[in-house]
């Protein structure tokens, strides 16, 4: 790849979210804005080899895309006039001046409008995710489809449906009013964290981690933090993702899942940990306490432990307890029980796990059975442990997770054969 091509692509990746956000506001249309940005990028690829890279490539792309938008408007008008004797009132399009475009690129307003619109609760979650990655993230439809292991037409359909709903139901292109900001921001944070988790946990397929989605979620997390720097939960969300991501390389060995306890901690990315720890502290100082801060604090305690035995389990259990006050979900209750088992004692933890399982809500959740199996194994109750691992194996969907469970199961079975109970 030549220099100008690489520059063009990195500028596009970094700046297309800003450009598209402003063009959507000006044109009132996601499609027209996207087309204009695509064409501007094509123009860059065609003309930069001759003219050289402009001094401000982002501004060049913005101006060019804006001009394309105006051309489109003109062409559409002529087309419609030819087709129909009736003159339609063309949808409001207000061309902007050069300085206006320049200012728009440096203000967060348009990108905030974009992110709140993409993550509007009136859109379904699949649509929110696809649209956020497509517009704010600047990923192409094939790229998103590949990352989610979905056929391209499926992904394209999701985008079309979401954009059509925005247009036809008049979902506003606005930052929500103060009294709705908290709940709307929560839905933005959820979308970004879901993108991260899709990359990190990879529920289907052979690959345990899809790095591109993790990197993209972290990038979006940075954008959100920069756009609304006074929101402590935005800072905490970024911290949480960085701390999880720091362990990425250590989580897999020879295609096998490695648990936190068994990970080679020298493989943990210390730069990400340092940044994550710093962000957690900032978020906590700023307050008020929220779900992402508590989760990030838990991740931070794991990151700070030099060895598994150094882990401050009582503190982690206390944080999960606090998290339960925000979100009384059985999954968090399960994690709390595991922390109790590791800190206060296996017996007490197992009792809690059984209490959590009593509702039956986690019957189909493989990690519930895996956690129970793990505690039983530690207690030396191999037979029961093997049964629980077996249940977990039936429910796990990712090949890597299945492999891990199979390994545990065969270790237990070998042990049982050697020393029958």
């Amino acid at each position: 790849m030549t220099d100008w091509q690489a520059t063009a692509e990195s500028v596009f990746r970094e700046e297309s979210g800003k450009i598209i956000a402003t063009l959507i506001r000006l044109s009132g249309s996601f499609d027209r804005a996207e087309d204009a940005v695509q064409e501007a990028f094509a123009s860059a690829l065609a003309s930069w080899p001759r003219t050289g890279i402009p001094t401000n490539p982002a501004a060049w792309l913005m101006t060019t895309a804006h001009r394309k938008l105006i051309d489109h408007g003109r062409r559409e008008r002529t087309q419609r006039e030819k087709e129909d004797a009736v003159r339609y009132e063309i949808e409001a399009f207000r061309p902007a001046s050069e300085p206006e475009l320049e200012t728009a690129m440096h203000l967060p307003d348009d990108r905030l409008r974009l992110i709140f619109t993409c993550c509007h609760p009136a859109l379904n979650q699949e649509g929110q995710i696809a649209l956020t990655l497509r517009t704010l993230g600047g990923l192409s439809t094939p790229e998103i489809a590949k990352a989610f292991l979905l056929p391209e037409p499926t992904l394209a359909q999701r985008l079309v449906r979401a954009k059509r709903k925005i247009q036809e139901a008049h979902i506003p292109y606005e930052v929500p009013p103060p009294e709705r900001l908290a709940e709307r921001l929560a839905s933005v944070q959820t979308v970004i964290y879901l993108i991260f988790n899709e990359g990190y946990v990879a529920t289907t397929g052979n690959q345990l981690v899809r790095t591109d989605l993790c990197a993209e979620a972290i990038r979006l997390g940075r954008v959100l933090r920069d756009l609304m720097p006074s929101e402590s939960e935005n800072i905490a969300l970024l911290a949480l993702m960085l701390l999880h991501d720091s362990r990425r390389t250590a989580r897999i060995r020879d295609g096998q899942l490695v648990t936190l306890e068994e990970q080679d901690r020298t493989l943990w990315d210390q730069n990400k940990i340092a940044e994550g720890l710093d962000l957690v502290q900032r978020a906590m100082r700023r307050g008020p306490v929220g779900q992402y801060q508590l989760q990030a604090a838990i991740a931070a305690l794991h990151s700070e432990a030099k060895t598994p035995d150094d882990t401050d389990w009582p503190q982690i259990a206390a944080l999960y307890q606090k998290l339960l006050e925000f979100n009384a979900s059985p999954v968090i209750a399960l994690n709390h029980a595991v922390a109790v088992a590791m800190g206060a004692g296996l017996e007490q933890g197992l009792e809690q796990i059984e209490a959590v399982g009593a509702s039956g809500q986690l019957d189909r959740y493989y990690l519930f059975h895996a956690a129970q199996a793990d505690i039983l194994r530690r207690m030396g109750r191999q037979k029961e442990s093997a049964t629980a691992y077996g249940k977990a194996l039936e429910l796990a969907t990712s090949k890597v997770e299945q492999q891990y469970l199979r390994r545990r199961l065969s270790e237990l079975q070998n042990h049982l054969h050697r020393s029958p109970e």
């Binding site: 129909d84 139901a169 506003p172 709705r180």
Partner: protein
């Protein structure tokens, strides 16, 4: 943009006269506020589904059946048509409209109305 806000309620729930009064009062408040803002284009309560009749074309004929088109937990109980700036405004109105008709909560479905195509409006203006 005009939105229809469809009110779905549970008919099976037991009726308490005092709560019925509160619900009617809440509807009146919403209608008064929407009227004052000049955005109320219509609002009607429906009689319960025990009075519903369904007509369905089948093999070139129409069959007439007793009851609503679908047996669901919540039944259409009434509607509002409001002229709102955008979906967010419609959502704010939906939060104010009571959904209970007889004690239990239901829900509101918001549907944008298909606006008349521009040429229809132009022709109407010339008539």
């Amino acid at each position: 943009m005009r939105y229809m806000l469809l009110v779905y309620s549970r008919e099976q729930a037991p009726a308490y006269p005092e709560s019925m009064q509160q619900i009617a009062e809440a509807h009146r408040r919403v209608m008064a506020e929407a009227t004052a803002k000049g955005i109320l284009e219509g609002a009607e309560p429906l009689r319960p589904t025990t009075t519903a009749t369904t007509v369905r074309p089948q093999n070139g004929k129409s069959i007439v059946l007793d009851g609503p088109f679908a047996e669901t937990k919540e039944q259409l109980a009434g509607y509002y048509i409001l002229n709102c700036k955008d979906l967010d405004e419609a959502i704010e109105w939906a939060r104010k409209i009571p959904t209970g008709c007889a004690g239990a909560e239901g829900c509101i479905e918001i549907r944008p109305l298909l606006e008349k195509p521009a040429h229809v409006l132009v022709e109407a203006a010339h008539r």
